[in-house]
Amino acid sequence: MSYQALPYTYGARTEAQIDSISGMITGATVFNTTSQYMETYNGRVWMDERSVCFKVSSEPGTVVKGELLKTSSTGEVELAVSGSQAEREKFCGVATRASVGGFVPVAHCGKVKALAGGTIVRGRGVIIAGTSGRFDDTSSPSNGTLGMTLESGSSGVLLWIALQTIEISN
């Protein structure tokens, strides 16, 4: 069956087409053919099954698609950066879109595009990079691993990763 046939509010569209829609109302639905998830408009951003809507902290102010994020003590999101165990606990997911009006949808599980912090090899563990908002890979997955890399690529590129795979080490 074709996804084009699914009669959501806006049918099936690419992510670029969805982002150009105007006048949508809260609860409107669309099938995103780029991510291949159904999305619902929550009045601020388009959300899918992987996502939670967060307010972006004054620092960084805005977020771009694919950045790794952590929560502050107020619950607002900031760019994640490698650090201590306590810092890693603050990780909350990856931005599935650029922020809109200070709000951003954040994927906490599933397949998602994330910004590479270095040269990435497919099939390795995902860890938070030393560069803010980016991820790195590890050939020795262990404590602190967030998921798995699904494709290879270079620094600064959006690459598919799988968030929250089965616990690798304990």
Binding site: T29, T40, C53, K55, G75, E89
Partner: protein, 228 residues
């Protein structure tokens, strides 16, 4: 059926709140949460969870489908609201559990009676070891051992809470048989972390009289801590 009513966001019933769909007072006509449609397998609804985040009101939606697990045959499992990450589970507690209580899947040496079939065997944690094997939030009550009820293993759901949670650290299951969530890890830091709180004060309806208990809106898998 299903996804064809575009004026309602592409679902049969449009947007309904979590309490209209799941709370224990939803079938009481005088309740503010009253909603009692005649459902047909395949019907759909958008389940709304609204939370206050950094002084902003934010809506979260979950697509649910009413599904008859017996497909018109003899009632074994019944019909339930299901969706991504929601599973029909077997209640392994003689006294059952309530909505928004957290259940775990402990290691069991013996098959329980009555038979669970192929369903996950879950119960509220009574030890640190059990709490280290979290399953998820019960969306439906279970009244006795052998009942089948839905449990959410991912996403945003209300949970009954013990004590105080924070917005930047992980959430765990209590190990005292209450099914409450807590900020205190069950055994070591690594064991049993399963979510992060989005709203640390989110009252949960606990009975058909609409009485509320302390709760929080949590995002299951919303933290990296379970990997640490």
């Amino acid at each position: 059926m299903s996804y064809t009513f575009n004026e309602k966001g592409g679902t049969n019933y449009g947007i309904k709140t979590f309490n209209q769909i799941f709370s224990p007072d939803r079938l009481v006509t005088t309740s503010a949460n009253y909603w009692n449609p005649t459902l047909i397998s395949g019907d759909t609804v958008l389940c709304k969870m609204q939370y206050t985040h950094a002084s902003n009101v934010i809506d979260n939606y979950k697509l649910l489908t009413w599904y008859d697990f017996d497909q018109g045959g003899s009632v074994v499992y019944g019909a339930h609201w299901i969706g991504t990450g929601i599973y029909l589970c077997y209640c392994n507690e003689s006294g059952g559990w309530g909505v928004s209580e957290f259940v775990c899947q402990p290691l069991l040496e013996d098959e329980p009676t009555p038979s669970p079939g192929a369903r996950s065997i879950v119960q509220r944690a009574t030890t640190g070891a059990e709490a280290s094997q979290p399953m998820g939030i019960a969306l439906e009550p279970a009244s006795a051992k052998g009942d089948f009820a839905t449990v959410a293993m991912m996403g945003v759901w209300p949970a009954k809470r013990f004590g105080t949670l924070t917005l930047d650290s992980a959430v765990y299951s209590r190990r005292d048989g209450t099914g409450l969530v807590t900020a205190t890890q069950p055994a070591s830091y690594a064991s049993g972390a399963m979510s992060k709180a989005l709203d640390i004060n989110y009252p949960v309806v606990s009975n058909s009289e609409s009485e509320e208990v302390n709760g929080a809106l949590i995002c299951i898998w919303g933290t990296a801590a379970e990997q640490w």
